[in-house]
């Protein structure tokens, strides 16, 4: 186990290094006139300002130098400064983090609970009308893009009842209950496709597991059906579900970009969109690195949790 753990952590190093390479090279590849456009848009550019901006984007260093500089900065929690507000990128991200975390945790929690529960139910009633209905709903959930659903959820109630979910952010201080309830609709929409994905893999996996000999043995022992499903089948069926969870987390983070934009929630996704709009490249780089590292670490935790779920999976 410890050897496996060491190998997994070691593999993170090149992956994180490549992540930094990606964001550094990406900024270098920007069309040559990007800074000109930036200067025209924001201020009347003078020679000194141009040099100043290039310096803050790290363009005065060679690519290898910048990669080393950025990496060491990132390790110390320094992701550079915003070009316009001149605030540290880390501060900007940390100030937006609670909104995204609340939204993400709600969506992920919903996706896990409903996805697994419905998947088990569907597998237990395989090919029955309930299974058919649940599977159709799940494919529907996978098919309606979240921005389409989010838009419909805002537009249709407005047309029918003249009411719509709020797209203006309520802070915790303004209205405590309103602050938390505003995450419910966006969270459900964000979690929907992950829930459908998890439901489908749970169902498939449950169907495979319940055909195994040891389940027949458990039945032959006369165990209660519920106990067989929950204790014997589900625990083993969860392994592929958990391995999919890592990818789902990345998908959820991507989804927050759209959901926060549509519902006007000031989280990291929204910060990314606004930063893109004003070409605040250090912030864009910082968000990319931060989400990338978070997803890598979550994946590591997910991998390690195999051992906890499946005692057979003594890896390494």
């Amino acid at each position: 186990m410890s050897r496996y753990l060491a190998a997994r952590i070691l593999a993170l190093v090149p992956a994180m290094f490549l992540l930094v390479v990606f964001v550094v090279v990406l900024v270098r590849l920007l069309p040559g006139n990007a800074i000109d456009i930036m200067l025209q848009e924001q201020v009347k550019g003078t020679g000194t300002q141009r040099a100043e901006i290039e310096k803050r984007m790290g363009l005065d260093r060679s690519i290898p130098e910048e990669i080393v500089h950025y990496s060491f900065g990132a390790i110390r929690g320094d992701l550079g400064e915003s070009l316009w507000s001149q605030q540290p990128v880390t501060t900007l991200i940390v100030s937006r983090l609670p909104v995204t975390l609340k939204l993400g945790v709600l969506a992920l929690g919903l996706a896990i609970v409903t996805g697994i529960a419905i998947g088990v139910l569907s597998a237990v009633r395989q090919n029955g009308p309930l299974d058919f209905l649940l599977r159709s709903i799940s494919i529907l959930g996978l098919s309606i893009p979240n921005f389409a659903l989010a838009t419909l959820v805002i537009v249709m109630p407005l047309i029918w009842w003249g009411w719509s979910p709020s797209v203006i952010y309520t802070t915790q201080g303004d209205n405590f209950i309103g602050h938390y309830t505003q995450f419910v609709i966006p969270g459900v929409i964000l979690g929907l496709s992950s829930s459908a994905t998890l439901m489908r893999i749970t169902r498939t996996s449950m169907l495979e597991v319940t055909r195994q000999d040891y389940i027949r043995t458990a039945r032959a022992k006369g165990l209660a059906e519920l106990r067989i499903i929950v204790r014997h089948a589900l625990r083993n069926a969860l392994i592929p579900v958990v391995s999919l969870l890592g990818l789902q987390i990345a998908a959820l983070v991507g989804g927050t970009v759209i959901i926060e934009t549509v519902f006007g929630l000031p989280g990291i996704g929204r910060l990314l969109v606004t930063s893109l709009g004003i070409r605040d490249y250090p912030v864009i780089q910082g968000i990319t690195v931060m989400t990338g590292v978070s997803v890598m670490l979550t994946n590591l935790i997910v991998d390690l949790s195999y051992n906890w779920i499946d005692p057979r999976a003594k890896v390494g």
């Binding site: 593999a11 090149p14 992956a15 994180m16 490549l18 992540l19 990606f22 964001v23 990406l26 590849l29 920007l30 069309p31 090919n127 159709s136 494919i139 529907l140 996978l142 098919s143 309606i144 893009p145 921005f147 389409a148 838009t151 419909l152 805002i154 537009v155 407005l158 047309i159 498939t204 169907l207 495979e208 055909r211 990818l247 990345a250 998908a251 983070v253 991507g254 989804g255 970009v257 759209i258 934009t261 990314l272 969109v273 893109l276 864009i284 968000i287 990319t288 989400t291 990338g292 590292v293 997803v295 890598m296 994946n299």
Partner: protein, 304 residues
Amino acid sequence: MTAEHSIAQAGSTAVFREPGLLSKALAQTSRFTRRQPLGAASAVVVVLLVVAAVFANVIAPYGPNENNVGPSLSGPSASHLFGTDNFGRDMFSRVIYGARISLYVGLGATLISAALATVLGAISGYFGGPFDYILQRFVDTAQSIPALIMLIGVLVVLGPSINNVMAAIAFRFALSLSRVTRGDVIVARSTPYVDAARSIGGTDMRILFRHILPNIFPTVIVLISTSIGVVIVSEASLSFLGYGVPPPNPTWGGMMSSSGRTYMLIAPWMLIAPTIALSLVVFAMNMLGDALRDELDPRMRGSR
């Protein structure tokens, strides 16, 4: 797989002695329809999409960017089935032409990424070694950056255009899909028939092309059929955020963004028509992909 397969083949040859290509195809279609009714219905929707995309210039009564073909922001009527937008453009025509972009990017990006994933997966899985290790770290990194964020980043650099969107999506998906093909190649590499091929002196190239690739082909088909829907949504999401196919191209995602949202209260049809078109097509693609996977993926047998 093989036993079931050969029995099925023996059965079909017994029934259809010397079957013509057409009758064989018909028989397969009718069997597919019987076993996967929803899949067949979805196939009809997909065919309609292809027809709409290919014959958009015949079906659509107006050009997609023809201004003032009717009063602007008028509701659905006989002359404008889905109403008109703020420039007086016919929404029905725009939605029909939108099918062309969705299908072009969806199919193009999926096929390119599947081809790339097969090559990468084959080299990585078959030869292993440093190339495999480095490529896998690239995949780790790519998968850790949410696809949407990575695609936006790449498109900021490349600049928005239909082909750039297609290339960016294809590249991103190829990295993820290569992990699946790699896994299959690793399994195929250690099978007795590959050992046999090697023991009679087969070269690596011959083993790869004649023995391993044909065996991972079903996986690739499944990957293609299950990816198209996701790819179409990716293009629509990018266009929705303004980093995809640039206006005035009639993309469904683009129609649902700025102008559609500005006028959503007085002209909701501007938003609803492309939303339904997009959702219906992705739904059909996913249903069809599911049905095809159930039919083709040997791992799914017995779980139905």
